[in-house]
């Protein structure tokens, strides 16, 4: 699993590749915490090359979502969600909570 972050003017673009399971979810969490610790709360997660997302990964996304949305200060949005991952979000009832976009440009531009 690989997480890379790019800090744009207002938004942080986080690309997550590979498998996010109980072993690797802490890495994702650390990357997202690194962003919010800087008081930056506009995040896009690019899921283009995300192969697998377990409940552990979902927990990280949900806890980050709660944090960035507090006091309406920000949001966490998704881009390039693969069909299998969309299924997982659906199964967890989370697809209604996250805004999703077909590409990162639109996702970043939505802020």
């Amino acid at each position: 699993m690989e997480v890379t972050s790019r800090q744009l003017k207002r938004v942080d673009l986080v690309k997550v590749n590979g498998r996010v399971d109980s072993a690797t979810a802490p890495q994702l969490e650390a990357a997202l915490q690194g962003i919010t610790a800087q008081e930056r709360f506009h995040i896009v997660i690019d899921m283009q090359d995300l192969e697998y997302l377990s409940s552990a990964g979902l927990r990280v996304l949900v806890s980050t979502l709660k944090l960035v949305r507090r006091w309406n200060r920000g949001d966490l949005r998704l881009a390039n969600v693969p069909p299998r991952i969309s299924e997982v979000l659906d199964l967890a009832g989370l697809n209604v909570l996250f805004q999703s976009f077909d590409n990162t440009t639109d996702a970043v531009g939505s802020f």
Binding site: D21, S22, S55, A56, V62, A92, L97
Partner: protein
């Protein structure tokens, strides 16, 4: 094609990827569709993560045995360990409809197992250890 496939790994989260590959391989060999392979892979990953995190204490070595086989019309994954029993029935199901602020974060893995597989059976025995069996009906 074998009639069953076995994997034994140490109870370490780092082995989840290995288990996933193993289950995918066995499931394909035993005739599951790609969609079914994804579902059993995910259910097994969730189940094994729970076992690894609960069965043995931190720093306590232990093993996990995973078997994939056909039984009647079902594809069956059996996960065995000799650690502390983790009974899935003890965990309350998550509420998936409440607003974000109220969303609890636990119980999702078990919920997935139940949704993705047709049947989940847990058994614990002081002699033989813990056994979790998950069944997936194969396409006719």
């Amino acid at each position: 094609m074998l009639d069953h496939y076995d994997l034994t790994v140490s109870s370490d989260l780092a082995n989840l990827a290995r288990i996933a590959d193993f289950v995918a391989g066995a499931a394909l060999q035993l005739g599951l569709t790609e969609q079914q392979v994804f579902e059993v892979q995910m259910a097994t990953d969730e189940a094994c993560a729970n076992v690894i995190q609960h069965a043995y204490g931190p720093g306590v070595p232990g093993e996990l045995h995973v078997r994939c086989e056909l039984a009647g019309g079902d594809f069956v994954v059996t996960i065995r360990d000799r650690g502390r029993p983790f009974d899935p029935r003890q965990v309350p199901p998550p509420d998936l409809t409440c607003p974000l602020e109220e969303r609890q974060i636990g119980g999702l893995g078990l919920y997935f197992m139940g949704q993705l597989m047709d049947r989940v059976v847990f058994r614990s025995d002081p002699q033989t250890g813990n056994e979790l069996k998950m069944y997936k009906r194969r396409s006719p």
